[in-house]
Structure formats: C-alpha cells, structure tokens
Amino acid sequence: MWRRALASPAALLALLVLGFWVVTAITVPWWGLPDPTESVGRRFQPPGGAFPLGTDALGRCVLSRTLHGARLSLPLAFCVVVGAAALGVLLGAIAGFLGGAADWLLSRAADIALAFPPVLLALAVAATLGPGLLNAGLAMLAVWWPIYLRLMRAQVRGVMRMEHVQAAVTVGSTPAAILRRHVVPLCTTPILVALPLDLGQVILLGAGLSFVGLGAPPPAPEWGLMVAEGATTLHRWWLVAGPGVAILSVVLACTLLGDRLREQGRG
C-alpha cells in the first residue's frame, strides 16, 4: 500500500517535506543557529543579513525559532495521535467485541466527548488544567480518542458479522484468539490510513490552542504562539510568515500523504 501510494509525485513531495521537518526537529540544536529564546538583535528587524527571517518583538531570530518549533509541535502531535489511537482502539475493540452494556456506556461517553465542538472541549480542558504543552496535549487527547473508538468499534462489529468469524465463535475459539486471528489484521489498515490525516489536524488544533494562549508557555517557539505574537503587527509579515509556512507545509504534507493512502486503501 505504502509503495503504491509513494508512486505519486505529490506523496513523494509530502514525504520529503515531513522528512525535512523530522530531521530538523532532531538535529537543529547542532546547526549553530542563535538561541531561539534569547534576544540576539534589535526588535522587529526585517529579513536579511544575520537574520534571514528577521527578528521578533524581543529581538529573537525568527528563523531559529521556526526551526526549533518543530521540536515542540511535531512530537506533541505525534504523541497525541498515537495516544488517542491506542486509547480509542482499545476501548473501541472492547465496545465492539463485548457489545451490550459496555458498548452502550463507552459509545455514550464517546458521544458526549464528540458532542463538544473540538475547539470548545480543548478550550475547556486547557482552561481547567491551565495553559501548558502537556495540558494542551491532554486536551487534544480528550478530543481525539472517541474518533478512534468509533472507527474501531465499527470495524470490529463489521468483522464480527463475517461468516468465518461467526464460525470461529461458534466452534468456541477464545476471544483473544478471535481478536488476534480475525479482528486485528482487518482493522489495522483503516486506522493506519487515518493516522497521517489526523496528525495534520492535531497540529492545526494545537496551533489554534496556542493561538488563543492555551498552549505552550512562552518563551517556547511554538508555531501557533508565534503566529499569535505576530498577529498584532501584520505589517511585519515575517513574524507570521515563518511559523505560518511551517504549519501549512507540515499539515499539507500530512493531508496529501493521508489522501494518497486513503485512495490506495479504497482502490
């Protein structure tokens, strides 16, 4: 599936972009860039010279901040998506497999969580726990797990209705064996396909939370926070350009990759 997906130039480009950001996130401290949290120049210097993307209100290098930002946004989004998928898949499997009261309870809990518009729920959670990277992560986790629960539950129930699985139940295979042999192999693909798309959307939500001041605390070079800082002075376009392009490129790459995977999965 992956190989076929990568045959398209768009997906290849997306993978390159993601690769660039991952490599950046890992190696940027050794690039010899100015400290992203220190004032190293005059405030609001336009791009040029020592600062290819200019400086911000505190005279910090915007390029350095943008590149260092990958060290926050990417791992956070990754952890949230993987955590949400793990939690949702586990609970979804339980709900779909057991059915009955457990299914009802878990599904209603998911309904309630999904009944909050995501930004509102994340806002409420982040406002309660206080701003911070970890809390923003927990808030997004609260928004995302039910999506995987629903996905997994639907898959499991679909698989359980299949004749050969029914047969296995009838002959008295243990639940664990049924799960391992029949359910898991059929359910992993749709989950894996959903991951890159969700990664992009989680980065968007995280940036939104930081934008309204409920994400990473300053002086962290978080992209949403940087956009928020630059939003008050839009005529200094370079403040928003760096983090804006960063968000756009990562999310776009995730979306393109997810789309191609989905198309291949379907076709």
Partner: protein, 335 residues
Amino acid sequence: MVLIQRLLLLPVLLLGIAAVSFGLSRATGVDPVIAIVGERAMEDPAVVAAARAQWGLDRPVAVQFLRHVANAVQGDFGTSFRTRRPVGMDLAERLPATLELVLAATLLGTLVGAALALLSARWPHGLLDQAVRGFASAGVSIPVFLAGLLLLWLFATSLDWLPGPGRLDARLTPPPVWTGMLLVDAAWAMDWAVWRDAARRLVLPAAALGWGIAALVARLLRATLIEELARFHIVAARSRGLSEGRLLLDHALPNAMVPALTLVSLSFATLVAGAVLTETVFAWPGVGAYALESARTLDYPAIMAVTMLGGVALALSGVVADAGQAWLDPRLRDR
C-alpha cells in the same frame, strides 16, 4: 427508527455535557466569585460574602449543579458572571450572528466546492484537476485563524476592497430585529444600505470559515462524480450521444450530491467550532467569541449553556443529515 433513537438519547447526551462542563469549570479549584467581584474586591470579605449569597455560590457544589440542571430544563440557564444578564438573553442576541456567519460559510463553501468539483470531474487528471486537488488539500491544511488574518490583511488593509472587522458599520442603524440575521432583517425592512454593508462585511469571515468546507466538498464530490461517470447507466447515456457537460450535470451530479450534502450537514458543528477562532479574528459578535471569553473568565453558567448548545447543534446536524439523505436518496427512504 434511527432518528427516534437519536432523539431519545439527546437528554442523556445533554446531561453528560452539562456534567462535564460543570465539572471542568469547578475542577480548577478556582473560586468562581473572583470572576464576579474582580481582583481588588476579593480582599473585602463583606463584598465576597454578598456576591456568594447573591449568586447562590454559598451552597454545596452538588446542589448548585442540580439547581442548574433543573433550571436549564425549564429554559433558564442562569445569569452570566460577566454580562450580569440571563445567559439565555445573551445567547439569543448572539446566536443569529453565528448562524448567519455559519450559513453563509456553508453556502459559499458548498457552491465553490461544487463548482470546483464539477470543473475537476469534467477534465479529470488535467492541469485544472491538479490545481483543484491542490486547493482542496491546502484548504483543510490552513489554520482558520491564519486564513482569517491573511484575508483581512489582503482585502481590508492592503487592497481596501472590503470593510474591516465587525458585523455592521456603527453609523448605520440596524433594522428591527426579526430573525436577528442582518441580511434577512434588512431585506425584510427593505433597508438596502444596511444590507449592502452587512453583506460586504460577511464576505471575509464567511470565506475564512467556508474555505475548509469548499475543500472538503471539492474532494468528496470530485471523487464521487468520477465514480458516477464510470457507472453503467452513465456509460449507457454517453453511448446515446449525450454531451459530457449534460451527463455531469443531469446524471452524475444528483447522485453525487447525496454524500456531499451529508458531509456538509455533518460538518456544521465543526463550523460552529471554527467560528470561535473566526469570530475572534473578525470581532464578530457571535456565540464563538462569547464562548472563548466565558472560558477565559470561568463564567461557568455561560460555559455550560454554550457547550450544551453545541451538543444540541451537533445532534441536530446528525438528524438533519439522516433526514436529508433519506429525502434525497429514495433507496434509503424505506429503511
């Protein structure tokens, strides 16, 4: 059947939402009285005690919650700490603004998305198609606040083609309130100066919010249109010599509209959420901006009412999606 089941579950859902939002606002451990009396008056025990008594905060938390739920059932959502008015009154004033924005965004997004999908499906895999697909991917990848800021900067500040933030020029007298939606009310009152200004101010926020919808619709509709065009009866029609354009519009589009419209109604709640950020950027006096301010100040009667409203909107959009699907697709009607 599914419809009735959904409606029956609504109260359970709402109670859950109320409990979660109440729990969250109280889990902070922050005394809600701060939101009422402010930083400095907190120092005066007489002021604090008076405020506590006046707002019913001197009772046990469980009692406060139950009282809230009991009142909410009767349509009374309590009084906002921040505005000191019944939350219902605040929401009644602000909901039409959000509805107008969301409806305009949906309309704009659906039309643009459909137009792009048609162009794309007419000449699939061409240059135009590539461009549309690129737009569709970009549309769901750009943060709505960034889109809003860029639109404002480009069309209002730099080019000066459209007015800046706000819903109506303060110098214009708003029409008598009928629906609360300015375009409807102004048209009803035949006040075209107001209508024009309101419409011009609606374009940018609706575009910022509708961009994502356009992208979603374009993606889905393009895929289903291409699928439809390959189907047996279309091939048959083509063999009868119908033009490609006619095929697309008369045969493929009606069938492909069903999933697209379902998607649109389902994304209604997402739009309401996006409205939080859009309204903040465009100084739009709607429920989204109200929700954000309420969350920041821990104005929990307002938070509870807004989240419950969001829950109802989401549940209803599910119902509407089901009903619309059944209406559009006769095959589903009997089920």
